[in-house]
């Protein structure tokens, strides 16, 4: 077993891997440069001029959403823990119904560039915008560092770099590329990169799915049996004792891990509709109807993809085995690339790895543009300059912000290397669901909701969530923590959602009650509601 593990760690041909990856970068860079020729106004930079069609945007959403967490993280978690990894994909998918039914169309009709546009529509502009922008930045940074950590892990496998320095250099390269994409192409260029990537990723996963099914002659039940047999033969006793076909391998250990799992489940299902980079994608289409179509496309693509990853995960357990996966540089996150190597050898591994890289790059670019738009449009133009900044100034500030965010995420990404990416992304979901979703829903559906309520909910959700993460085992106290040598983890759950999300919802109500005597503009509430349901005031679809 150990000999096998050694043999399989040196997988692929690093030069081929790099060549295919460079080919992807060259092609997408061409697209981005082409898109940049028509990127002139602020609306081009932030929303691609709002001219994408529903299906196009659906692919871009899938490209934005199916991050390295979905591909590497979930496949790896299924391969090692079995069923508990599958639970991630279900949360990630069902969450889209919240976006489809409650948020996407209404948001498209009321906002222009950022989530804060909607939140501050009928409330006091500056304080609410500031709060919404801060939480946008927080969520984006968390998400970014998860992606960066994924990049480090992936390259560790491909180039067989064990040392942290080598991985750190790769993280820096990914960060630099991301900065270039966004600076040149803006939202339009980024959207093209995401569409290309979504096609490659879903197609790559589909091919692997078919190859795995072919290997077991279409017998899914047999695949499960073989996967379990591999796990039971593991040299590691903990792994060998797992029933990977039933829930509980990862989260069923104690009462506390079970609650942690419920917490994760809540964060996943409520997080998506509060993710600023997902919300911003709804502005790249011209109408609410197109927003609906794009979500429908996204749900189909994302759903199909998660069905593929279920088979990929068990396929990796069967054909690669948990021992080899855990022994590889990159650990769990290496399961999908290792499976590709088993299925199609060096070339296929190189292709799949390039796709995974592309995945990280595209998601990172989308996050960077969201965070920079929020800083420039919300904080700089509306809060600091009180709405007196020209669009050119806004775009210039955005470009500077992209560089700052890029550097920041490189540093944080290096700190987070080695953690399961899906787990890190789940923290970003928890922040999004706590800080953004309650205010978003209240301002769309609750007439009496007011500024105090929004501030209570956003800051309460954001601060409680961040504090609980800082004092959780994710940051300190365990070998897998960010700071394994320190221990200040008094909060037992690694995902804070179960506390911070309900708290933020309650704080929204409490705040509204506290601030009930302060006057809000009654006309604005009417305008927002009428606009959100009918699309009055939205620029027309036709080019002008």
């Amino acid at each position: 077993m150990n000999v096998l593990a050694q043999a399989h760690t040196d997988v692929g041909n690093p030069i081929l891997n790099i060549a295919i990856f460079i080919a992807f970068v060259v092609v997408t860079m061409g697209l981005v440069i082409k898109a940049s020729r028509t990127t002139k106004k602020a609306s081009d930079f932030y929303t691609g001029g709002g001219q994408f069609s529903g299906p196009q945007n659906g692919f871009a959403i899938a490209g934005d959403y199916l991050s390295a967490a979905s591909f590497l993280g979930i496949a790896g978690a299924i391969a090692v823990y079995g069923y508990d990894g599958f639970l991630y994909s279900i949360g990630f998918l069902v969450a889209w119904l919240v976006a489809l039914l409650l948020v996407a169309e209404l948001l498209r009709n009321t906002g222009r560039f950022t989530m804060a546009d909607v939140l501050s529509f009928r409330l006091k502009q500056r304080p609410v915008r500031m709060a919404a922008a801060l939480s946008t930045l927080a969520v984006s940074l968390f998400y970014l560092l998860a992606q960066m950590a994924g990049a480090g892990g992936l390259v560790a496998l491909l180039l067989d770099i064990e040392g942290t320095t080598g991985q750190a250099i790769v993280v820096a390269i990914v960060g630099a590329l991301m900065i270039v994409y966004v600076l040149i192409g803006g939202m339009k260029g980024t959207t093209y990169v995401q569409m290309v990537k979504a096609v490659l990723l879903v197609a790559g996963a589909a091919v692997m799915f078919l190859l795995v099914l072919f290997a077991v002659r279409g017998n899914f039940s047999q695949l499960l049996a073989d996967a379990q047999a591999m796990a039971s033969n593991s040299a590691d006793e903990t792994v060998a004792n797992r029933d990977i076909l039933a829930p509980g391998a990862k989260y069923g250990i104690s009462g506390m891990t079970r609650i942690d799992f419920i917490s994760l489940g809540i964060a996943l299902v409520l997080g998506t509709a509060g993710l600023p980079h997902v919300l911003m994608r709804f502005y790249t289409v011209p109408t609410a109807k197109e927003a609906r179509r794009s979500v429908t496309w996204a749900i189909s693509l994302i759903g199909a993809f998660y069905l593929f990853t279920l088979v990929l995960g068990y396929g990796a357990a069967k054909m690669v085995g948990p021992d080899v996966i855990l022994g590889a540089p990159g650990g769990e996150n290496a399961a999908a690339p290792l499976l590709a190597f088993e299925l199609g050898g060096t070339v296929f591994l190189a292709v799949i790895s390039a796709v995974a890289f592309a995945t990280i790059l595209a998601v990172v670019a989308g996050l960077a543009i969201t965070a920079s738009a929020s800083f420039a449009h919300d904080i700089y133009a509306n809060v600091l300059k009180r709405g007196n900044a020209t669009e050119d100034e806004q775009v210039r500030v955005s470009r500077i912000t992209v560089v700052v965010i890029g550097v920041l995420s490189i540093v944080l990404g290096i700190l987070a290397m080695g953690q399961n990416i899906a787990f890190l992304v789940a923290l970003a979901f928890a922040v999004a669901a706590s800080a953004n979703l309650p205010t978003l829903l209240y301002s769309l559906f609750w007439k009496k909701f007011n500024t105090t309520g929004a501030l209570f909910s956003i800051y309460g959700g954001l601060i409680s969530c961040l504090l609980l993460i800082v004092f959780s085992p994710a940051v300190s106290g365990k070998a897998s923590s960010m700071f394994p040598n320190a221990d200040f983890a008094w909060f037992p759950l690694s995902n804070p959602g179960i506390v911070s999300i309900p708290l933020a919802f309650v704080l929204g109500i409490v705040g509204t009650y506290v601030g009930r005597n302060k006057t809000e503009d009654p006309f604005k509430q009417a305008e927002m509601e009428v606009r959100s349901l009918t699309g009055v005031g939205v620029e027309k679809a036709v080019a002008h």
Binding site: Y83, F86, L87, I90, G91, L93, V94, W96, L97, V98, L100, L101, L102, E105, N219, F220, S221, Q222, L224, A225, Q228, D243, L245, A246, P247, G248, Y251, G252, R258, F261, I262, G265, V269, A288, K289, R292, V295, T296, I299, S300, G303, Y306, L307, F445, P522, F523, K524, A526, E527, E529, V530, R531, L533, T534, G535, V536, G537, E539, K540, V542
Partner: protein
């Protein structure tokens, strides 16, 4: 972007309704109808899929034995319920798209036209 033009105007840009017009429209029966149709669909459906998801998560957390019950070959209850989540997600998406196209779009288009003048 748009300038306030008279209601019957046929200039290419659509007019912006006044604040009072928004308030009047919000109170109008046609808008109330649109609003209640939307809410009567999305609130119960959201309650349904969130409860079904919660049930699934709770079963996965506290009923491992039940979820591990094999049904067909090695395929157990847990997998079937998990795939069931996929099925309901796809089904609700399809239902909503149909509902919105039939019940919401014509109503909202009519209101938009009333406030902004006819679509160019």
């Amino acid at each position: 972007m748009t300038t306030a033009a008279p209601r019957e105007s046929s200039v290419p840009e659509r007019r912006i309704p006044s604040p009072q017009e928004f308030v009047d429209m919000q109170a109008s029966p046609e808008f109330q109808e649109l609003r209640s149709r939307l809410r009567r669909f999305v609130f119960p459906v959201t309650a349904f899929f969130l409860s079904w998801y919660a049930l699934y998560v709770l079963l996965a957390t506290y009923a491992d034995e039940f979820m591990a019950t094999k049904v067909i070959g090695n395929i157990n209850v847990g997998l079937i319920l998990g795939l069931g989540q996929f099925v309901t997600t796809f089904a609700i998406t399809a239902l909503y798209v149909k509902f919105a196209g039939r019940e919401l779009d014509p109503r909202s288009a009519a209101i938009r036209e009333e406030l902004e003048g006819p679509q160019q």
